[in-house]
Amino acid sequence: MKEPDSEQIMYWAARIRKSDPQAFDCLFRALYPALVNFAFRYTRHKPAACDIVQDSFVTLWQKRDGIEPEKSLKAYLYRIVKNRSINWLQMHINRSEPLTDESENALKANGHAPDSQFEQKSALAESFNEWIKELPERQQEAFELSRFEGLDHNEIAGVMEVSPKTVNNHIVAALNTLRERYNNYQQNLKRAEES
């Protein structure tokens, strides 16, 4: 599905503020898949991701009076989905365990296997996903929000609670790391072909 542009979302935001359920439905349909994927990034558990996003929309409707028309509703939703995902994680894994790259394994050990729909397709795809996952947490977050969720710098800054300038630095750093990884990968391929 095509992503709605920011004007469209601003229009829906204004309508939702005036209690228009149709605008709410439009916004839900447009952002639900992307937000579930975003929540899954933290939880690695699809039913939980779906619950979190639905909860967030319920809250949005209940607090629709507080929608600030000039601020990005998209950033607001990503922020609450992120916070709730992290809360969910904290409730479902031992507090002593870090919430970083090991979280997936920790969840596996607890019996939450990643959803089969998320299985990766090719070797390069797998490598790319691996490299993105191995990026430092903040770089990864900024990169994914920009590249995959289509948020602009101010929106990402709102979600991550840093300045837009920092967001940009994170993304550039992420691209540099990925470039290095990709170069190595290609060289290894070449070597494998030669031998």
Binding site: N37, Q62, Q120, A125, F128, F148, P164, I171, N176
Partner: protein
């Protein structure tokens, strides 16, 4: 467009102040940016899944004040449930009756062309993405009025009621003829173009009606006071889209890209500020791939393009 070296941010939309998106500066960044997009691990969420989820959200919004986890029914809620079924049944009856009087709307998916036949025997061939609506009770009985957004080729059989097509503030009236209407509200000025291939029509937009005969074309958009005078047009140009030919005559780049998006069901990002309004003429007699069209466009306009997860991106 050239960037200042010290400012890696480029306005995504020149007119908006906060819409700054990341746009890779260096070529090797660009490649990684594109590759990462192609290899995105992502769950496909089906439409039915979204609707189910929306249904659950709705039921929670209507009958609970606080977001509870499992939605356990409190004792007092049972009566509410029955009331809910009653209301739903009533709504269904009212809605069913209402449906009979509401216009039906047909929308053609991107990448496809559809033909529909009306009760009076007239037909409409609809280009990708076009939507058309009419009243299912009255159409062909007491009136023949259609409303459309998009592009369609009509074959109208003679009848006692005038056949009218409303499209983005214009009306085209006919009694029996073949003609093409192109009217996308997403095109600049919501321009409407009517081209007659057989018979004649009356084209009404703003005040002055224009009579069009076979082989003639007239245009109107929000910036014109009246429709343009009828102008002769090559017969091949009329509704070339029906044979999947692509014909662009001095059209703004943005119009052309929208057309490609609909025809090929892809998404094209144009990351070159100011390029939307540049015009281009191109003609493809045979079906071609989207990539080869973009290849030509970018060559002529001195731009570059790259594949993305769901289409292409054009940049400088």
């Amino acid at each position: 467009m050239k960037n200042k070296k010290d400012n890696p941010l480029r306005p995504y939309r020149p007119e908006s102040e906060n819409g700054v998106r990341f746009i890779p500066e260096k070529e090797d960044h660009q490649e990684i940016w594109n590759l990462a997009g192609m290899y995105r691990e992502r769950a496909q969420i089906e439409t039915t899944e979204i609707e189910d989820a929306l249904g659950r959200v709705h039921s929670r919004l209507d009958f609970t004040d606080t977001p509870g986890k499992n939605g356990k029914a409190a004792p007092g809620e049972k009566t509410w449930l029955y009331a809910r079924y009653l209301v739903a049944a009533l709504a269904l009856i009212v809605f069913g009756g209402y449906l009979l009087f509401v216009p039906v709307t047909i929308t053609v998916p991107h990448g496809e062309i559809a033909t529909i036949e009306f009760r009076d025997g007239s037909t409409a061939e609809l280009n990708s993405g076009t939507s058309l609506s009419y009243n299912r009770i009255f159409f062909g009985r007491t009136e023949r009025n259609l409303t459309m957004n998009g592009e369609a080729f009509f074959r109208v059989v003679p009848g006692s009621e005038t056949f009218r097509v409303h499209a983005n503030n214009t009306t085209t009236e006919v009694t029996g003829t073949e003609f093409n209407i192109r009217s996308w509200n997403s095109d600049p000025g919501s321009e409407t173009t009517v081209t007659v291939s057989n018979g004649g029509v009356i084209f009404l937009a703003s005040s002055e009606p224009v009579a069009l005969t076979a082989g003639n074309q007239s245009r109107w958009n929000l910036e014109l006071d009246a429709p343009t005078e009828p102008a002769a047009i090559e017969h091949d140009d009329i509704a070339g889209w029906r044979e999947r030919r692509l014909i662009f005559r001095d059209q703004p780049l943005i119009t052309i890209l929208r057309e490609l998006e609909r025809a090929y069901d892809i998404r094209i990002e144009l990351d070159v500020p100011g390029a939307e309004t540049e015009t281009l003429t191109a003609y493809y007699a045979r079906p071609v791939t989207a990539a080869s069209v973009l290849e030509d466009i970018t060559l002529v306009k001195d731009l570059r393009y790259a594949q993305t997860a769901d289409g292409y991106r054009i940049f400088k």
